[in-house]
Symmetry: C2
Subunit: 351 residues, 2 copies
């Protein structure tokens, strides 16, 4: 397999800062698209992966799975895209294409799905490398079309933060008659508010403090419920058809379950680990309530979201950074000091 050397940013070890690296990309196969990366969003997973927080990182790692760029080359059989198209790549770049999940447009649940970074590149026999790089080469089936009316930097976080909240909103059939609540106002939470609002739902944000009320309302929330205020939590009992919980650490879900309506579902999208403190079954049984998980979204669903963002003129609220500032951005991200997503201007890497 012929390869190309390109510039990227990544790390060789969990302790080290990210730094310039040279990596290999494959030349386009007949079904591949080569993309000149313009912008790449910065996701919490990037940081977890770089630091091997999940114990599965192979080094060197090049993070980045919120990718927007321009097609620079196409394989001989590519039909969906042409050179010059503005396209996007999200969290996955391949899957088995034959299991029930793949057949049902649920590639994210395919046991063999290939992550944009940290997956296995069957062409190169190496781990895949993500979007903190000049270019990426992806099979056209896993490349998405970007509506031409949207800010290209602002659309990048839609590829992960957006689809992670869109998929449960759609799966649990949120529409104008729905009452939706969001827990956590970060990258995922702020997209969840925008998307649920654009779907016509009544949208609430649970927050521990009053200082997020104005921001949440500007994003589209109808109300903010202060989760530490007993009276407000009591008033919210039995209200919500669906709660999207974006909080990335262990926290008590039981007070939120009380605010679900009969048949309501709390969907955990941000936290991987044991539910500490323990869930109590009584309110779940007394109202046929559920706690579920949800992972990003499939390719068709991600395209649906990009098209929806085009129609409703939705992008992420972002702060643009240069590639060289990624380590500072990680530290700020850990302190939730960003409204609401860092996006890397990839020209800074090429310049």
């Amino acid at each position: 397999m012929i390869t190309k050397q390109i510039s990227a940013y990544g790390t060789d070890s969990p302790e080290a800062n990210l730094k310039p690296l040279t990596i290999q990309r494959r030349e386009v196969t007949p079904t591949d698209v080569e993309i000149d990366i313009l912008y790449c969003g910065v996701c919490h997973s990037d940081l977890h992966f770089a630091r091997n927080d999940w114990g599965m990182t192979q080094y060197p790692v090049v993070p980045g799975h919120e990718i927007v760029g321009k097609v620079t080359q196409i394989g001989t059989e590519v039909s969906k895209y042409k050179v010059g198209d503005i396209v996007a790549v999200g969290c996955l770049v391949d899957s088995c294409r034959s299991c029930n999940n793949c057949k049902n447009d649920l590639e994210q649940y395919c046991p063999e799905w290939v992550g944009t970074y940290g997956g296995f590149d069957k062409h190169l026999n190496t781990p895949t490398h993500g979007g903190y790089a000049e270019t990426i080469v992806v099979d056209e089936a896993y490349v998405l079309r970007v509506p031409d009316n949207l800010d290209l930097a602002g659309i990048a976080p839609v590829l992960c933060a957006g689809i992670t909240t869109w998929s449960p909103l759609r799966h649990w059939k949120v529409d104008k008659d729905s009452k939706v609540a969001i827990v956590g106002l970060g990258g995922l939470g702020h997209m969840a508010i925008k998307l649920a609002h654009a779907l016509g739902a009544h949208v609430s944000l649970f927050s521990r403090s009053t200082n997020k009320i104005e921001d949440a309302k500007q994003l589209g929330a109808d109300q903010v419920i202060i989760s530490t205020d007993t009276a407000q939590m009591e008033q919210a009992m039995g209200q919500f058809d669906i709660i999207i919980d974006t909080v990335p650490y262990a926290h008590d879900l039981n007070p939120y379950i009380n605010t679900l309506s009969t048949n309501g579902t709390l969907v955990v999208v941000g936290y991987l680990g044991p539910l500490d403190p323990m869930l109590v079954t009584v309110p779940m049984i007394m109202g046929r309530k559920a706690v579920a998980g949800s992972l990003i979204g499939g390719i068709a669903e991600t395209q649906e979201l990009l098209d929806f963002c085009g129609e409703h003129n939705i992008t992420s609220d972002i702060e643009i950074i240069n590639m060289q500032n990624i380590n500072t951005a990680y530290e700020r991200m850990l302190k939730s000091d960003v409204k609401y997503r860092f996006v890397i201007d990839m020209n800074s890497l090429k310049g």
Copy 2:
């Protein structure tokens, strides 16, 4: 309000055995049906309530909410039933009739539903008394019709053990294409196997030991998976659309979650309390899986179940006892020493 004195069995305190009591029943109001109780099933809740395990019992308590009997008197406005009809009463005898849950035939989730025992009788201004009694008086809207081809003793447990498993099977749309698993082979579990099998589903039982294999297959299970056998549990991964978990004490749900398919749901129907050990979100997120609760069923759904039992000739496997043996039955029930439900022959109380 005019009342009648009748014989019943109950207790005045959490420590005491059940004993003969005399209680008041109201005379029929215009919409009431008076029922001569023929059989009453014995549910774990009866015992928990008699012993105040849930801290909400008002004494004296007369348990029993799996009631089958014959109509002996009707109010002036009763239209559904006539004297001599064979009818049934389950876990609830009234609800507000105006909330969304009531309007949607989900009376079991009405915040004001009235339990057959331990509820509040608005006519008498006393706690309601259950089916360990000669007679009961119930508004016709909460009385059910019993198909005439069924064994009257065997149908009694359908009113609680049956509907508790039927409701989630129906809500999660189990049919001939479904793969269903049941955890626990007691009163609820054995009904779940019969009902899921009759719905045409592929039915598995999870059991800790091999000595339940024959019984489970006779009840309609296609296979038994030994939950302590790592190889069998691995082979079961990703298999089930729905798991009905009937186990009445805290246990580890995580191994069962791994056996759910994408979009699968584990429904807890038997255990009220904290999920110890803690649920881990990773497999839930990686397959959009859910843990839910479910409580008995509504009136229309219970009638649907009774009719289904009539069509498919389904009753509970039971052991008939006399009222005087209830305390021994409770001790045996605590040791799971019954296949699969005790039913009291109420003639023993009247004789």
